[in-house]
Symmetry: C2
Subunit: 216 residues, 2 copies
């Protein structure tokens, strides 16, 4: 276990023979979150033990429990962090006024594909992974996962409203329903890209989706 780039302190009276990470260090917390996202977007919640997170993060167990009360608490923070990360990516794409609104949504799907390709299509969407595991997760996850999806859908609805305003979508389009449809289908496409470990499921989904909304 390595602890690069961290201030090392040794709590008085507790010599343990290995370097200690400052448990108050917000960078330690960030490293745990990053390691958690890496592991859980690939393997889901149940398959990943805290020890694996610690090994990837290079952080001792005490620091984990300084920042998080339990694996479930950690998982909920991961959902929040992932929701925020993806909301940022969505905003960068969907608020990019140099593109027409529908092309902004296309750009998001391309970014997401590029991101999955970087990890050889082994990492999927944390919300999809944990949603699939809902039967064995603490009940507190349900509301948080749904909230994150609703937030992404809200941002997507704004983009589809802009598409309607500029005539890219029919005046009568229910943009909220279409954003929900997009996200439901997109989660299916990401699941399938992970299952098949290739880009085609994403491309097949987006090609048909964007063709369909042209005439919708």
């Amino acid at each position: 276990m390595s602890t690069p780039n961290l201030a090392i302190t040794r709590p008085r009276g507790k010599p343990r023979g290995r370097p200690k990470v400052d448990p108050n260090d917000s960078e330690t917390r960030q490293r745990l979150i990053r390691a958690g996202l890496e592991c859980l977007t690939e393997k889901g919640y149940r398959a990943v033990a805290i020890d694996e997170i610690l090994a990837v993060a290079g952080v001792p167990k005490g620091s984990f429990y300084h920042h998080f009360s339990s694996k479930a608490d950690f998982g909920l923070h991961l959902v929040e962090a992932y929701g925020t990360y993806l909301a940022g990516l969505l905003d960068r794409c969907l608020l990019n006024e140099t593109l027409k609104p529908i092309d902004r949504l296309r750009a998001f799907t391309q970014h997401a594909e590029d991101s999955m390709a970087r990890f050889d299509f082994q990492r999927g969407c944390l919300v999809g992974n944990l949603g699939q595991e809902m039967a064995t997760l603490p009940a507190s996850f349900r509301e948080r996962l749904v909230d994150v999806l609703i937030d992404w859908q809200r941002r997507t609805t704004v983009c589809l409203d802009a598409a309607k305003d500029c005539g890219e979508l029919n005046d009568t389009t229910d943009t909220e329903a279409l954003a929900t449809f997009f996200w439901t289908g997109w989660e299916g496409a990401v699941l399938r890209a992970k299952m098949e470990r290739k880009a085609e499921p994403l491309r097949q989904f987006t090609q048909t989706f964007f063709q369909m909304i042209e005439t919708y």
Copy 2:
């Protein structure tokens, strides 16, 4: 652990103090498969131990290993059994010539919703569950899961071809691409219905899908 409705035999020289199930009994095998489908459509592969399957099936461990060489072998047989079960449901709906082709596909989605409702939306699609877990499953699962999806899509394509023939779909519709799109999105909808534990995600998906193909 109970063993109802089974022929009970006791192997010579191996008195164990509890009734034995005939390991050659194909009903025992079916009970294991049924129990496996119950458990894995809810919790996925990793979260379910063989002991849980045995308890649900009311079958001793020896019988399990008579029929299956390992949990992975059992899992692959579950995928096959689930694929066949759903292909049968698809055929009953999609080959029902008393309905117009698109209504046959609607009937399938309604059957699937009814089926999820019977288990309070806690059981999803085995292929979706295991697909989501692909990173931690034996590699042999990938091809089998993909094959099952392709089989369902093929049956759906035939129905969409019939819809094209009778003017319910545009002449230029790529029915194979549309069937793939349907299944990718439907898996997303089932995942989300399980996550939210309610019917709405299925209904939102089907409502928009069937509206969209009217103008596609």
